[in-house]
Amino acid sequence: MMRHQMLKVSLRQRTLAAITISVLLLLGMVLSGLWIGDEKLGINPAEMNEGPSLNHLFGTDWLGRDMLARTFKGLTLSLGVGILAAFSSTMIALVLSLFASWSEAIDRIVTWLIDLFLSVPHIVLLLLISFAMGGGFKGVVIGLALTHWPSLTRVLRAEMLQVKTAEYVGVSKKLGKSRLWIARNHILPHLMPQLLIGFILLFPHAILHEASITFLGFGLPSEQPAIGIILSESMRYLSTGMWWLAVFPGLSLLLMVALFDILGQSLRKWIDPFHGQKGV
């Protein structure tokens, strides 16, 4: 009994620690990215093609630009795109799942829409939307926003269906409350934790897809120091042995995505009592 209790407390503390550390690290990444001014990103012909050193931890590229500064700037950019995309996707998911609670017919339409969006490979769909918008920043954000809602909508819809059959909803219906009232007072509060977790867990996907689509040449314009741009430019210099151009920016991206993933999973453990009981 005693041991059990101790384990539980320590799991909770561990979860909280994971949340705090990942938030701090992410904040650090973003703040340092915002703090880096344009002068750090400038061209410096005196220090071209240098490997990693104490002066330039990530090395410099063929124009003498510091890769550390470019990487952090790129991560901040990714985060900005991620926030925009994840927020809009979450909103779409929320609205659609509330719509689905309205009637059987609308529920069927929403399910069909989910299936429709999942039936085209994600990258191809992103490519198509980016093409329709003529590429650039706008194309990426709209593409990411319009394609990340299906899986979250599925989760929210399942949750919504559960609440809808609950007794207290039935009582409210009998008392003559309107469907809008039920959606606002019964379903919405119940969806909130899932919504928050879903929002955080959308980030990793959105950021990775942003980098991929930018890498393919459809995303952010090439003068921006986005990670996708950095990596696609580094391809031209790989055969000359400039490995640091690709390794560190990619590793930083991986770290950021992993941190968001850890943050989301820990939040779920912390908020959601059903998953929180078992230490995964």
């Binding site: 039936s119 990258i123 198509l128 093409f131 003529g134 890498f215 393919l216 790989l238 390794v247 993933d261």
Partner: protein, 330 residues
């Protein structure tokens, strides 16, 4: 008799679903494409645009039917599509169907090798982790899978390229066959050598999903009553896994693997771009960048069918092969 009727019903239902899906996808993608600010005439002519007079531009637009309203254009395209004519690719200057067929074959080789490899590795890793739940082996495999889930596929490709092609020089840097050799002179071994790196990249990325799923299923099975009973009888280790675990986790694992065709295709697009492998993924990127609308639409439809086939296979495995479900309603 009843079974035949049921199967016929199932097949008809799936065919209708595919037809509706394809119609919806083509309408949706046509709307998107027709809103694009990229001018197809300009991307067709390219840098010579200044040397082409406005009259000639109009002629080209007229010839392609670009002056007609979008709905008319869609109907024209749809009519030709139903007759098997997908239009002419602007950048390859040959029929879209031919381009897709040729490219799809190359992609299929890549994707099937990667699919089988990642399936096998993922399954074995997942089983190992599930059997050793809670130990350091399990934690190692889980950590590996979670790291992979956050890894950009194209970055992994770049790393492998640097390691094996540039640094060690074991494998070629890219393309589907050696440069400077005629297409028919390329040997099978050469093609295989060019296939290795993209396929390995693709399969490393695909491992995570299947491994985590298999692990979870096996953990569930291992906590079930019948395994507890078997353990009480004294069964343990591989024999226990063979008798009670394998059958229960194989089918869901294969189904999940079939259902991942969409991600497989997406991964192939990135891997092909990194290794300049001449597959469908590279073609779709070129079509998008070059404003090649017929090819783009063709590949969108083709990839939709590809994903549909994967999901169908998963569905059939789940619903038809599993005896518990077969006895019930399909």
């Amino acid at each position: 008799m009843l079974l035949v009727k049921r199967i016929a019903f199932y097949i008809t239902g799936k065919c209708i679903k595919l037809a509706v899906l394809l119609i919806a996808v083509s309408i949706l993608s046509f709307i998107l494409v027709s809103h694009s600010p990229i001018d197809p005439v300009q991307s067709y002519i390219g840098a010579d645009i200044t040397r082409v007079s406005p009259e000639q531009r109009d002629n080209i637009a007229e010839y392609w039917g670009l002056n007609e309203p979008p709905i008319q254009q869609f109907l024209n395209w749809g009519k030709h599509l139903l007759q098997g004519d997908m239009g002419t690719s602007l950048i390859y200057r040959s029929p879209v169907a031919e381009v897709i067929a040729e490219r799809f074959l190359a992609s299929l080789a890549l994707m099937s090798v990667a699919w089988v490899l990642s399936g096998l590795f993922g399954y074995v890793l997942g089983m190992t982790a599930g059997m050793k739940e809670g130990t350091w082996v399990d934690k190692l495999i889980k950590g590996y899978c979670f790291t992979l889930a956050s890894t950009p596929a194209f970055w992994l490709g770049l790393l492998l390229l640097m390691l094996f092609s540039v640094w060690l020089g074991w494998l070629p840097i890219g393309l589907g066959s050696p440069a400077g050799i005629l297409e028919e002179d390329v040997t099978f071994m050469e093609r295989l050598r060019h296939l290795i790196l993209p396929a390995v990249t693709l399969s490393i990325v695909g491992v995570a999903n299947i491994a985590l799923h298999t692990r979870q299923k096996l953990v569930d099975v291992m906590n079930s009553d019948y395994v507890r009973f078997a353990k009480a009888k004294g069964e343990h280790g591989l024999k226990l896994l063979w008798r009670h675990g394998l059958r229960n986790i194989s089918l869901p694992a294969i189904s999940v693997h079939f259902a991942s065709f969409g991600e497989l295709f997406g991964g192939a697009v990135l891997a092909e771009q990194v290794f300049s492998y001449p597959g469908l993924g590279q073609a779709v990127v070129e079509a998008g960048l070059g404003g090649d609308v017929p090819l783009l639409l063709g590949i969108v439809l083709c990839s939709t069918v590809f994903v549909f086939i994967g999901n169908l296979a998963a569905d059939i495995l789940y619903k038809v092969v599993d005896p518990r479900i077969r006895r019930g309603e399909i």
